[in-house]
């Protein structure tokens, strides 16, 4: 099949490399041939780009990584399920020893194979190190959960486990330059914040909201500080996206309140403005999308909360939707053309 395809393409390229106006179906291979003949690209470039376009060689990099990721997730899921189901039959010693061996082996592998630490982006020395580290991190979670559930080492102080886990994962993420583990660290830290509030006698939504803001402040400031210090500055985008989403959710929950929502509306507008400005200046259009969607939801909820007339509500959506559409088209035409 491949040989037949190549022959057909080669015939087309060699016999009739016409311009796109005469040959609308001109393939990229024909176009490359044309560029080579025009001297726009060198023969070496032509050979390389043509082989890339034909998939020669065909890279299985993506597929193999997905298989590894799925394999690690399936393994840890089975491990957790088995430990939960068979803990009484196996006994604590066997379970903890097994988990510890897997954990130690994973981390030993990572520390023994890792290249020297650098504050800049560092590619993994081999393709599986990232997944072994991810495996170790997930097994750490399983082991801690088992320890607390069976032995009650910290007498139910789950938040301390989460805090310790977050600290460990941050260290590992920065040591091995691993975004998977960084995400685990950030979500563990978020879990610690949430769990700390749940210990309070009268925890309410307002408390969660305030702590979400503190979380955003802490993580955002930490991200900025680390980026300014040049410590894995490529992680900054991960921090920023997580902070932006949590911040918008927290502020929106304040806007949805029936009372004392004035400050939250102001905060929402400021956050939207900042997100929009950041997205446009840095060409990170996810932030433009956040500003548009979260801002529209918040402002609409405020304007429509006392409106009961269906016609008015629908009219509102028609006109404000059109206004948003026009604004976004202007942005798209001026800033967001490139894919």
């Amino acid at each position: 099949m491949g040989r037949t395809g190549c022959t057909r393409i080669q015939c087309r390229v060699l016999t009739c490399p016409r311009s796109e106006t005469t040959n609308p179906f001109m393939t990229i291979l024909a176009r490359l041939e044309q560029w080579k003949e025009q001297g726009a690209i060198s023969p070496a470039q032509h050979a390389r780009l043509a082989s890339l376009s034909r998939g020669e060689p065909f890279s299985l990099f993506l597929e193999l990584n997905v298989l590894l990721y799925a394999g690690v997730l399936a393994f840890v899921a089975g491990l957790g399920w088995t430990v939960t189901t068979w803990s009484q039959q196996l006994g604590n010693v066997v379970v903890l020893a097994t988990l510890s061996i897997v954990l130690a082996a994973s981390y030993w592998y990572c520390f023994s194979r890792a290249s020297a630490w650098s504050s800049a982006e560092t590619p993994a020395p081999n393709p599986i190190l990232d997944y072994v580290l991810y495996l170790g991190s997930l097994v750490w979670c399983v082991e801690l959960a088992y320890l607390e559930n069976q032995l009650h080492v910290l007498s139910g102080q789950w938040d301390l486990y989460l805090l310790a886990t977050a600290v460990l994962f941050f260290l590992l993420a920065y040591r091995f330059d691993n975004r998977f583990v960084l995400s685990l660290a950030l979500s563990s830290l978020a879990g610690w914040f949430g769990l700390t509030i749940s210990h309070w006698p009268s925890h309410q939504d307002a408390a969660y909201r305030q702590y979400a803001l503190v979380y955003c402040l802490l993580v955002g400031a930490g991200g900025v500080l680390l980026q300014r210090r040049g410590l894995k500055p490529h992680f900054f985008g991960t921090y920023l996206n997580i902070v932006a989403n949590i911040l918008f959710w927290a502020v929106l929950s304040g806007v949805f309140e029936r009372e004392d929502y004035g400050l939250w509306i102001l905060a929402l507008l400021i956050a939207c403005g900042a997100s929009l400005a950041w997205g446009l200046t840095r060409r990170q259009f996810a932030f433009v999308a956040y500003a548009a969607v979260y801002g529209y939801v918040g402002v609409s909820s405020l304007l429509l909360r006392s409106v009961n007339d269906t016609t008015a509500v629908l009219t509102y959506f028609v006109f404000t939707g059109e206004a948003m559409l026009v604004g976004l088209i202007v942005i798209a035409r001026r800033f967001g053309r490139s894919e």
Binding site: G55, V66, L144, L195, H199, T311, G321, I331, G336
Partner: protein
Amino acid sequence: MRAYSASSEVALRARKLLKEWAGEAFLTQEQYQRLEQETVSELRTTNIFLRLVLLLFTLIIVGAAAGLFFVVFLSRPSEQTVGAFLLIGTAVCYAAAEVAVSQFHLYRYGIEEALVICSVGFLCGGMEAAFFSGQYSPLPNGAQFLVPAAGAVISLWIWHRFGVWYAFPAAMIFALFLPGYWTSSHSAQHVIVAVGYSIGLIFVAAVRSHHRYDYLEDAYSLIEAFLWLGIYLAINLKLSSLDMPGRWWWGGGTRAPSEFARPFYWTTWVLIWCLPPVVLVRGIRLKDRFVIAVGSIVAILTFISNKPYLGWQRHTWDPMLLGILLTGVALFIRRWLARGAGGIRYGFTAARLSGKDKQWMNASSAVLGLIPQPSTSSPPTRSPDFRFGGGASGGGGASSDF
């Protein structure tokens, strides 16, 4: 027949590749700027985030405008009246999409996509309300199959005309409902769907051979992958017993094996083992990423559904074995390929050749990271928000540009 001229789409594809190659330093900046001039297209595109937001707001506008029309101009309309106006709305939305493309040259811009999505929704809702209101029955009954049939036809047309990839799986889903109107036999329903998809696959395989390396190759590759996946799902009778939303698929939820005749049941078991290697071999021969992906997915689904098929007991360590198998296969293939001359064997390599692969990895890991992390027991009752091991959203691996 397509809304866009071939030359425009070819130019867009070439421009996209040029940008990718310049990003990988295969081209100098000067070369990129010069060659970019030769790939000018009149089509207006935008990035994925603005595309999604534009789609969302267009859906809001169309939905609200339709609602407003009914509220203002029709008081207590009959279902037939609503249906008739929805059918008019279908024509309006479709015409607006055509105008957006022909006059404003919108290409994957969100707006025209929302309009065609609305036209499909209005058509099905309109037909149901105008012709079949109050007549729904899950049993086979006359002409009601025309609703999903019309949905399938218009989705196929939209896929062909506008080239939006998700219109094709939408057509496949509409087609899934058709056999339920023709026969009450679940076996026959499975067979009809599988045969229908197979016919589509044969047609697509024949057509795509004429589009090797051209701008339509990716589109045909994707729909072939969808068709393989559809055929597999149609013949795997056990997927609904794996907590799959059976109602979505066959309208009846989990089904007992006794519901199917033994020869049919065991034939499907044989087929779910035969199909993955067939799909994988075809994907590898064509060097088709989507077909290879579907081949891998259906192979994993076969492993997962084999025990329920045979009536064997599941074990808690089954996922561990699956994980070891997947990891082992990945490592074996990687090492086998790496030992070839230049890290290449039979035209395949495990090395990363394109920055696009890394982007795909980041996106995939972000999605997969949403899978809840394991815990060995329920958290304490006084901490309902607890998610052990990083909560429900670990392992994102989000990229700096998201």
